[in-house]
Symmetry: C2
Subunit: 326 residues, 2 copies
DNA sequence: TTGTAAGCGTTATCAA
DNA sequence: TTGATAACGCTTACAA
């Protein structure tokens, strides 16, 4: 590996001078500048970021902790984050926590040891006391952690209301909700939105609420049980798109026609909502934008720029497709 | 930040001793060991990986370069890679190249500067001359780069043959192929597999081959044109699952019933093949296993272990679902 | 069994 | 305008 020392020797100057031309810092004679640049070019010298990090105490690197990159929604987020940060020459460490707090903490520690300049995290479990001692900025994505940690999220409550109201407007009178895991904040907000919407029109029935995981299979089973027990259900608001797919599968299995006999709405607006048949009515979040916004905020924090607002809540949009249209 | 120096002072020893207990290297008296350990614990000392990297010239870090994490298939691969490497305390840099060679090279340079210990890359364009000068092991994933670079892939040719033969066995006599981009090696192999299978039974017709991108929309348009021009097509083998979805959408638009009038087969076995309706018959690759195998090989190479074989080609499996069953 | 000190490849301070 | 040189926090000969 060719180092600054080698370049300096070749150019007949000191390492300090090479460093100066490399960083455009301090005075350097135009001629020697050229000589040095030439040497750098000839030797294909690339400065060693590790050495630089050690000195500067920052690494042009950030961490992105998500529950599972494999879960649709997160790839889009990850892509947005990488797009924005790579623009400023940052690299992204990808970490899958499976939503487990011990893994999250392990990653935080590893990232700190690697001198990351900041971390973006999607977590339900982390509390300020777990992370307040880290000496780099942290932004929560998708799910707020706490009022002290800046976050970017979307209006889950409002989206859930809209989704439920839409079902009601479509004529549904027995509207069920397959809800996401109770310990996930956004699932709670969506549940609340659903509850308020059905209550307002006197359609609330606690039997029609059934919790499941954010996964196809889990939602499918939940929907199967629920539909078997209450065959008069005519609309389902699912905790997210993946769950909505599970609901549709269960409905098919039980011989329901979607949307004729059962209308289904999802949440998230993942790209693959469109590929299922019938296409899924959903509450769409601006996923890419959430990722890019969070990434920009993090860069601002890292580079000491003032940040406009600590909390950003994006509005969601009801996307009506076939799964609710008769 | 607390450093070894601080710990050493607290424990009343030298930094060398602290380093020794930290790395279990060299002799160290049991008592002083305990003292040091206690000090580490009390001060919550975490060694600085950057300093360590600088000295050791390795960083416990690898790079993963994919065209686009957003594209299904890659998240599963990424997850596998992260699972395996994190087991050995490695962290993964995620890089999206969009399949562009200049981005790939930029990432390689950045990764080298960051002292990564190795790189896993999915690329069609990279040639040995682009990467032979990097001083870390490289493994090609999904798409072989060249015989000098170890790779992990699957049997695309055989899979395509099986898929096509399956369509023929289902009674299709006009079997088309919407092929992936010609510059992607696996697309070429799949095309070849298709050609051989149709030729063998005298069903080859070059008009029924239509290239498109590995994307829904592109495949949809291609299929639309092809089906309009040759309405007697009764089977389509698509270049991958995402394309197969596009084909199904085009078919729906044109009023074809799948699978009754038109049978469709995909390739990849992405998780979401199951969510579309009709469920997609596909050639399934062991995606997770390919990722984990490549990651293990890379770790072997990094840690100087002998590697069993430079090339690994996984067998694929035809998964028959609704989209070809009448 | 332990400590001293050189070195990993940079940056930045201070003289020259 | 340039060059020595001391950091950055760690590892590892080598000496003690």
């Amino acid at each position: 590996m060719v180092t600054m020392r080698d370049v300096a020797k070749r150019a007949g100057v000191s390492v300090a001078t090479v460093s100066r031309v490399l960083n455009d810092s301090g005075y350097v004679n135009e001629d020697t500048r050229k000589t040095v640049l030439a040497a750098i070019e000839e030797m294909k010298f690339k400065p060693n970021s590790v050495a630089r990090s050690l000195f500067k105490k920052q690494s042009k690197t950030i961490g992105l902790i998500v529950p599972d990159i494999n879960n649709p929604f997160f790839p889009q987020l990850a892509r947005a984050v990488e797009d924005v940060t790579s623009e400023s020459d940052f690299t992204v460490f990808l970490c899958n926590s499976d939503g487990k707090i011990d893994k999250e903490i392990r990653y935080f520690d590893m990232l700190q040891q690697k001198y990351v300049d900041g971390v973006l995290v999607v977590s339900n479990t982390l509390k300020p006391e777990h992370i307040s001692h880290y000496n780099f900025p942290i932004i929560a994505l998708d799910r707020p952690l706490d009022s002290t940690i800046p976050y970017v999220t979307c209006n889950n409550y409002e989206g859930a209301r809209k989704a439920t109201q839409h079902l009601i407007e479509c004529g549904c009178v027995r509207v069920a909700h397959i809800s996401g895991p109770e310990n996930i904040a956004n699932a709670k907000d969506r549940l609340k939105g659903y509850e308020d919407a059905v209550s307002e029109v006197g359609l609330y029935d606690e039997n029609l609420i059934f919790p499941a995981e954010y996964q196809i299979e889990s939602a499918k089973q939940a929907a199967f049980k629920l539909l078997t027990k209450y065959p008069d259900i005519d609309g389902v608001f699912a905790g997210n798109d993946v769950m909505a797919i599970g609901v549709i599968k269960a409905a098919e299995l039980l011989g329901y026609k979607v949307p004729e006999q059962l209308k289904v709405v999802g949440f998230d607006g993942i790209e693959f909502g469109e590929i299922i048949s019938p296409e899924l009515t959903t509450v769409s979040q601006p996923i890419y934008q959430m990722g890019s916004t969070a990434a920009s905020m993090l860069l601002d924090l890292i580079e000491g720029r003032p940040i406009h607002q600590k909390e950003t809540t994006f509005q969601v949009e009801l996307l009506v497709k076939r799964s609710t249209q008769t």
